[in-house]
Symmetry: C2
Amino acid sequence: MTLGNVGKRILVGRKLRSTQLGETLLPKRIALPVFASDALSSVAYAPDEIFLTLSIAGLAALAISWKVAIVVAVVLIVVVLSYRQNVHAYPSGGGDYEVANTNLGATAGLTVASALLVDYVLTVAVSISSAAQYAASAIPALAGHQAEAAVIAVLFLTTMNLRGVRESGTAFAIPTYVFMFTILGMAAWGFGRMLFGHLPDASSSTLDLHAEGKFAAGAGTLAMGFLVLRAFSSGCAALTGVEAISNGVPAFKKPKSRNAATTLALLGTISITMVLSVVSLANVMHVRFAEDPATQLLRDGVPVGDSFHQDPIIGQLAKGIFDHFSPGFYLVAASTGVILVLAANTAFNGFPVLGSILARDGYLPRQLHTRGDRLAFSNGIIILAGFAIVLIVSFNAEVTRLIQLYIVGVFVSFTISQTGMVRHWTRHLRTESDPARRRHMVRSRVINAVGLTCTGLVLVVVLLTKFLLGAYIAIIAMAVLFLLMKGIHRHYATVGREMAVDEAERLTLPSRVHSIVLVSKLHRPTLRALAFAKAARPYTLAAVTVDVDADESDALQAEWDRRDIPVPLKRLASPYREITRPILQYVRDIRRQSPRDVVMVYIPEYVVGHWWEHFLHNQSALRLKGRLLFTPGVMVTSVPYQLLSSQAVAEGDERDALVPGQVRRGETSERR
Amino acid sequence: MTLGNVGKRILVGRKLRSTQLGETLLPKRIALPVFASDALSSVAYAPDEIFLTLSIAGLAALAISWKVAIVVAVVLIVVVLSYRQNVHAYPSGGGDYEVANTNLGATAGLTVASALLVDYVLTVAVSISSAAQYAASAIPALAGHQAEAAVIAVLFLTTMNLRGVRESGTAFAIPTYVFMFTILGMAAWGFGRMLFGHLPDASSSTLDLHAEGKFAAGAGTLAMGFLVLRAFSSGCAALTGVEAISNGVPAFKKPKSRNAATTLALLGTISITMVLSVVSLANVMHVRFAEDPATQLLRDGVPVGDSFHQDPIIGQLAKGIFDHFSPGFYLVAASTGVILVLAANTAFNGFPVLGSILARDGYLPRQLHTRGDRLAFSNGIIILAGFAIVLIVSFNAEVTRLIQLYIVGVFVSFTISQTGMVRHWTRHLRTESDPARRRHMVRSRVINAVGLTCTGLVLVVVLLTKFLLGAYIAIIAMAVLFLLMKGIHRHYATVGREMAVDEAERLTLPSRVHSIVLVSKLHRPTLRALAFAKAARPYTLAAVTVDVDADESDALQAEWDRRDIPVPLKRLASPYREITRPILQYVRDIRRQSPRDVVMVYIPEYVVGHWWEHFLHNQSALRLKGRLLFTPGVMVTSVPYQLLSSQAVAEGDERDALVPGQVRRGETSERR
C-alpha cells in the first residue's frame, strides 16, 4: 500500500478497516519528510520574496530583511503552536475543512474548502515556477524559458500521477532529508567560514541597487511601512504547508497525537532555522536581490539590462559559500528543485482527496467521492494541472507575481480553522467539569485565540498589501468555487427530497410486461436481442421496425417470413421519415391501453473496442434511448453484441476479475 | 414542403413516394433561379479575378482580358453541352458522384465526393468573402473588416439553417431574377450610353497601373503566357455551380430531361452574357483593377497606399454607368451581395445531402444517412460552417487567395464525371442495336469526350498555375477526406461481415433469465427498479449492493429488513473499495454456473432535464453499464426515474406525439 493512498485515507477521516492498516503507520522520522516537503520547500522562495519586495525601496531597505524574517518566524511559531492544539483535539485528522465545518457550520467549511482548492492550484504553480527558476540558475540555457520548463514539469507530474505512480515513504524521505541537510549544511559551512573570516561576498554584492518608482525620489514613512508589511506578507509564504501534519495524525505511530505534535514542533524548528539562516547569510554576504533586476541593479553605474539572470538567493549563497567546491552549488540547486517538485506533488494528492470529501458532503459531483475510483482521481488531477498551467502561462512562471495570489487562501484557511478551534474549546468547556482538563482546555483555547489573532492580523495585512497586486484573482476564484459548490449542494438536496421514500411506501408492481425489440436490419445483434427478449417470457412480445423506406421494410419483412422468426414484426408508419416519434407513440399507446403495465424496449447495441468506433455505431440507438427514458412506465434494455474489436477490453476485464489484487491501469470502477 | 427538402430528396436520387409529390415539381421559370444562384453569382468575382491576375503584367495586359473571357465562355459552352448529356442520361438526377460511381467504380466516386465536399466548403468561403467585398464597397465603414463581416454572415446562415428555415421557391426566385435583371439592365444601359457616346470612364481609369515583380522589368513570353493561363483558370470560377441542374432533373416538370436541358442552356446563355458584358464594359470604361492596389495603382505617379479601397469591377461599372442615379449602384451592390449569400446557402443544403448519400454508401457514419434527421443535418451544417470560417479567417476573406483553392475541386469533379459519361455511352453502345439511337449515343459520346478533353485540359492548367498558390491545400484536404472515407467504409464492411446472419442460423433461446437490481441507496428510483424487475418474473431476482463502506451497507440492510422488501439484498465484498469489479465478478459467476442462462442487470437511472445535471448524476451508472456490456450473456436495463426537472422535456415529447404533422425544433429522431 503506497503512502499516497495512506494520505488519501487519512484525509477522508475514517477508520481504515483493511488488514494492511499496520504497515501504513509512520514513525516520526518518515512522517516528517512525508508531510514536510510543502512547508520546507517554501524556504526556496520566501526569503527571496522578502528581499525583492524590500529592494523596491533601495539598498538600505534590504537591511530590514532580517527583522521581517524574525516576525515571520514568530508567526510561524504561533501557527505551529496553534496547530499542535488541532492535532490533540482532532486525532482523527480533521483538517481545516472538518474543523471549520464541525465548529462553525457549513458556510465556514465551504469557505475553507474553496480557499484550499484554490491554494492547491497555487501550490503547484508557485512550487513548479520556483523549481524552474532554480533549474535556470543551474542550467543557464534554460534562462528565459522558465514558463515552458514549468509547463513541461507540470505535465510530467500529471502523467506520473495519472499513471498511478505514487511515492513510497522512502521516495519522499530521501530527497527531503537531502534538502534539509544540504541547506542546513550550507548554512553551517557558511557560518563557520564567517567565524574564520573566510566567507566571501555573494557575486551580486558588487552591484549597486537602485530604488524603484517613488522610492527612488525618497518616499514617506507611510509608504515605507506599507512596503515592509508587503515584504512580511510575502515572507509568510514560508508558512504554507504547515497544516499538512494536522491532517495526517492517523498515519502516525502511537501515541499518534503526541508524535504528530512533536513532528510539528520539529518541522517548525527546522523551517525557522532554515529561513533565518538563509536571510542572515544573505545579509552577511551582501546579496543584492531586486524585483526588477534589469533596471534596478547597476554595474559601475549602468543598469545590467535584460540579459542579466538573477539567481535565487539560495543559489547565490551556495555559489559564494561553495566557491571552491562547485558540486556543492549543484547539490543545493538540485535538491531545492526536487523538493519543490515534491511539494507540488503533494497538491496532486491533496486536491482529489479534498474533492472526494466535498463530494461526500454533496458539494461536488457525487462520483468524485469514492476513494477507490481512479477516474475520479484522474479528473481531479487533470483539473488541477489545467488550472496550474493556465496560471503558469498567464504569469510567465514568475514566482513573485504568483505569490501575490498564493498567501491569501492559506491565511483564510488558517484564520477560520483557528476560529473553529476557539469555538471547539468553548463548546467542550461547557460540559467539562474536571478542573485539570478544564485548565488544559483553557490553555489550548488561549493558544488558539492567539493563533486566531495572529493569523487574522496577517490575513488583513495580506489583503491590504496584496489585494490589487493579484490577491483579488484568488478571492474571485474562491467566490466562484463557493457559489458553484453551494449550487451543487442545493441541487442534490432538492433531488434527494424528491427521491426520498415515504415511510408507508411499498413496492407497487406493474401488472404485466410488454416487450418490444427495435429492429432495423436482420443481423446477429437483432437475433440475439430477439432471443434474449423471448427468453424473458413477457406478456406480449413484438419486433418493431419503422417504415422509413418501404423497399427496405419490404425486404426486411420478406426475410423475416422466410426465416420464420417466431416473433411478429410490427411495421410502424412514418410519413415524415422519423424514427423516434413513431416508437414513442407506439409505446405510449401500449401504456394508454393498459396503464398498469410497463413496456420494456430492447435495443440491440454493438460493443466496440476503440473510442473512435463509437462515432460509427449506436449513435441513433443512444439518442432514441435518451428520449424513451423520459416516458414513464418504460424500461430500456441494451442487448450488447460484442464485435471482435471489443474482445481485448473484455479480456482485460477477465484478467482483472481473476487477479483481484491488482488494479488495472485506467480501471473505471467506482461507487454509484 | 420546402424547396430545401426537394433539393435534398432529388439529390438522394430516389423516387418520392409521398402524396405531396405533385406540388414539388418546378416549372422552368422557378427551376432556373433555384439552381442558378451558385453559377450566376460567380459573375460577381470571376471577371475581377481575370483582371487582377492580368494586372500583374501591367496596364497593357488588361487589354487581353476580353480574349480570356471568351475562352472561359467557350469552356462554359462545352461544359453546358456536356451536362445536357448527363441530364438526358441520368433523368433521376445522378449527380457527378453517382455518374462516377456507376461508370468508373467506387474509387472514382469517392474522389468526386471528396472534391465536392471540399468545394462546398470553398463555395461558402468564396461567396461570403465576395459578398463582404460588395458590402464594403457599398458601406465604406466596413472596409478593412471584411473577414469579421464574412464570419458573421456565415454564422447567420448557420443559424438560419440550424433553425430549419429553408427558402421557398419564391425566396430563391425573386433575388435571383432581381440580380439577373439588374446586371443585364446595367449592361444594356451601359452599352446604350456607349452607343450615344455618353458612357463615362470608371473612376479608377484616372489611375496608373504598374506591373508587379519581374513583370515590372519586362518578363519573357513564357512568363506572360503562364500569367494568361493563370488568369484563365481564375476566370473558370465562372463555371462553378453549372452542375447543379444536372443533379436536380427529377424536380422539373415533365418532360423532365428536356426541361432541364433547356434550363441548362438558358443558364449558360445568361451566364456567358453576363460575364462577357461585364468584361467588355470594364474594358470600354478603362477599369483599372490590381492584385495589390496599394502599390500597383498610382495617382499622379504616387502609389495610392493602403487606405485605398478597390471596389469590385461590377461596383465600379455601376458607379460609372449610374453616375447620375446612385440608387442604381446600391441596387447592383445589394443584389450581388444577396445572390452571393444565396449561393453560399446552396452549399448549406448540398453538403449534408451529399453527406447523407455517402453515409448511405457506408463512407461516412451511418447516422448521417437518414433524410428526416434534423440532427444529422445539424452536424453537417456545423462542420461546413466551421471549415468555412477557418478558411475565411486564415485567408482574411480575400477572394483572390481563396479562388486559388476553389477551382481545382470543381474541375476534378467535371473531368471524372465526363469520363464516366464517355464510359456510360460506350457501355450502352455495346448493347444498343437501333441505328437511330446508336447515332444519338455516338453523338452524345463525342460531346462528352470533348467535354472531358476540355475540362481535363483546364484541370491541368489549373493544377499547373495554381498548385503552389494554394490548390495544394485543397488537394491535401481531398486526399485526407478520401482516406478517411475509405477507412470508414472498410470498417463498416468488416463489421457487416461479422454481423451477417448465416442462412442456417435460427433464434437460440437462453434457458433462463437471472435478474439483479443494482442498489446503492433505498430511494424511489431503487423501488421502481425493484418493482419493474419483479414484474418481469425472472427465474432468480436479487438486489445487489457493493460493500464499499460497511456502515453504509449495514444501514441499507437494516432499512431493507425494516421495510420488508420482498427481494433479497445481496452484499458483495469489495476489499479494494471498487464497484465495477465485484459486480462483473458476480455476473460472471452466475454465467459460469449456468452458461446457457442470461443475466439482466437493472440500473436505476435518474432522468434530468438540463444538460448540466448530467454531470451530477448517473455518471457511475453509465460507466458501469459500459463495462457490463463487454460481458457476453448480459443485458443491461435502465429503469428511468423522471426527476421533476425532466418534465418539460417529456411534455414536449407528448405534444409532438399528439400533433405528428409538426416537427419540433431540435427533434433528434432518426434512423437506426
